[in-house]
Symmetry: C2
Subunit: 406 residues, 2 copies
């Protein structure tokens, strides 16, 4: 740690912090949002017009990223700053007008039935903090590394298609046990989203239906709250299937069916998409599905040029299904590393942790990177080889911050 | 735990959960708020017009309580639902237009000086979750217990002048160490708020200046973020002195001076207010100051009549400066008790925890209460004897929930 120079000139660390509060919210239930997600005057789609426009990058109506300087230091990501990624446009906001009336079909159990959300609420309550991250977060770094003639389609997310959320709801295990337990031979938990499917397309080609291994039966939460508030429509309200440690697509929004199944769904989003395959190769069910998230970290401040002297390098780190155990910081692009202490409360193995390392940045050019290790000993690689879908990037090199101090 | 009756009719547990998002915020820095706190059309004072009006009870412009059914299950209290209690009206919102320019005088150290917020940010970063609670939270239960002729002045808060917040900022210890350490003989940490003092009154009679024991030097945080967002003006932005485990008044808003001092401030708010004294007695500096919060808990659901059968009784519990170690629930008004499990992540000793106990409520009348024990073995009493200020209520009897199931 360098000398403390508290009298040095102020310098900008990240973006201006005002306004203190997000843009005017549009309550879900009052018909003010536009279910088609048409961008409003501020550039935010109607369904999320209540979010903080200053904190967000709008890639499209269905893909909105948190700016790197707006991740904050409070561990839990404010809902107004959290990213959005939809595979299909959200259902009409009428579904959150009477949340307790939402119906969930439970299948693949001894006593299958359909329960209302009000009934689910009587079965138990649990809370879990998880990193919610789009499977393609960091895709831009893979796209930037492609050879001529190669192509990876998809939103060029950098680090902002991720956040840390506290979910509250009923454990799936409590529901399954109340319905007599799993039927015999079931190997997957399959959730089906409540999106209205576009006309003229084969339902299996567009339906959001994902299968995850049955081992998740003991960790899946059927969540109706996010960060202590009723789950907004834009994030899957009234009910979402949360699969802790798994990438975003597996956390099915507006979940209308949860089935324990013997085989994976043959919906296209499971069978032919979100598979780990080579660039230019065709995806299919023989390839690994995008399920558990790999260990990852990135720096959140400083992000801009500034005065030389004392600085606090901060960032976030997480391990997917494993707790994050260690994070190192380098200010010389990975030539030398220092352990960075975690700060704040530990929200559990599926959450991210924040780190802060005070050091001295002498005048010059600096390349700031971070490298995390999870509790199973997995270490972030320097680079993640590109794959056809641009999924699961976790290299430490991609999100490097280059800046000058003077 | 009673029989599981998942097919029983839905019943209301707490208030309707819509709208999903709070009312339109007014960004602090854009001159849209009314620093005088004039109530707007929705009944919320202008400085907090961006909060969720459905979640709040407006006692006055400076005293706004969270409704019991809106505490949520996510541990951290959403800012839009958090209570407000000001001793003096907030300063003009210009002070959050350029947050990094805010100046804090540090005195009582070897090398006293004034630092900008930008400079403070270079000294370190930490996060802590604390229960922020008005010293008078629960006063109504004391007022209800008074004998004829007795009186306790003050807002009749029930349970809603409290929330759990994640604060981020620099530890006071890091700042003091950077300035050469404490001067000799200092026994208190004294913070001064940046409110504009009303004309025509003696400054010492109205200034918000509080002293807490020097032991807090190792726990006080100078916070610029709340729940991952820049600290709103209404909650003390740009900078607030957070004293973990201490009641609300000690957490000085818009803090402009932090001094290590040999004696307590003689400001009225310290010398003659927020003292533990008998009903009808005069308060003075010889009486104990309202500092550490006692162990407390209350039930958050169910709050209303409903169908008999399976229910999940939920609530929150905290121990002030001690971690909360145990909570028990009774559905017969305290005749018999059952241990209730905590749910969700543990945010540390100063945070509250949530509990959830699934049980059977047969048809009839029920009186639901909870009783917490902290890590030091302190147990909530059945009642807290009334005191002159109506401070530090922590009885388990007061917040009892009476309801009928049929």
């Amino acid at each position: 740690m360098g000398a403390v120079g508290v009298a040095s000139a102020a310098r900008a660390q990240g973006p201006a912090a005002d306004p203190a509060r997000p843009a005017p919210p549009k309550p879900d239930a009052k018909g003010t949002s536009d279910a088609k997600g048409k961008p409003d005057a501020k550039g935010l789609p109607g369904t999320i017009a209540w979010k903080d426009p200053d904190a967000l990058i709008v890639h499209s109506n269905q893909t909105v990223e948190t700016k790197r300087g707006f991740i904050g230091s409070g561990i839990v990501t404010p809902i107004g700053r959290l990213f959005i990624r939809n595979n299909v446009a959200p259902p009409p906001d009428g579904i959150v007008a009477d949340r307790d009336a939402w119906r969930l079909e439970i299948a693949g159990v001894a006593d299958p039935r359909t329960l209302t959300l009000a009934e689910l609420k009587r079965l138990g309550l649990a809370s879990v903090a998880t990193v919610l991250q789009c499977s393609g977060n960091g895709r831009k770094y893979m796209q930037d590394a492609l050879q001529p003639g190669q192509k990876i389609s998809g939103t060029p997310w950098t680090v902002g298609a991720a956040g840390c959320v506290i979910w509250s709801g009923v454990p799936l295990r409590a529901v399954v046990d109340a319905l007599g337990g799993p039927a015999a031979g079931m190997r997957f938990v399959t959730g089906t989203g409540g999106e209205e499917l576009p006309a003229g397309l084969k339902p299996k080609d567009v339906i959001v239906e994902r299968s995850v291994p049955i081992a998740t039966l003991d960790t899946v939460l059927l969540a109706w709250e996010m960060n202590g508030e009723p789950l907004p429509l834009a994030h899957g309200g009234p009910l979402r299937m949360i699969v802790p440690g798994y990438s975003g697509v597996n956390n099915v929004k507006y979940v209308k069916t949860v089935a324990l199944t013997a085989v994976e769904t043959d919906a296209k989003i499971q069978a032919a998409s979100y598979r780990m395959h080579g660039v230019g190769e065709r995806a299919g069910p023989g390839q690994p599905s995008i399920w558990e998230q790999p260990v990852r970290s990135w720096i959140t401040a400083p992000l801009e040029d500034g005065a030389a002297g004392r600085a606090v390098v901060t960032g976030i780190a997480f391990g997917g299904v494993n707790a994050v155990a260690r994070v190192e910081v380098s200010v010389d692009g990975g030539r030398s590393w220092s352990d960075a202490p975690f700060i704040g409360p530990d929200l559990g193995r599926y959450a991210w942790r924040q780190f802060a390392l005070a050091l001295d940045l002498p005048a010059g050019t600096h390349v700031l990177v971070s490298r995390a290790t999870d509790a199973a000993g997995n270490v972030q690689p320097e680079e993640t080889p590109p794959n056809g879908g641009g999924y699961s990037y976790n290299g430490w090199r991609g999100p490097a911050v280059s800046l000058r101090t003077a």
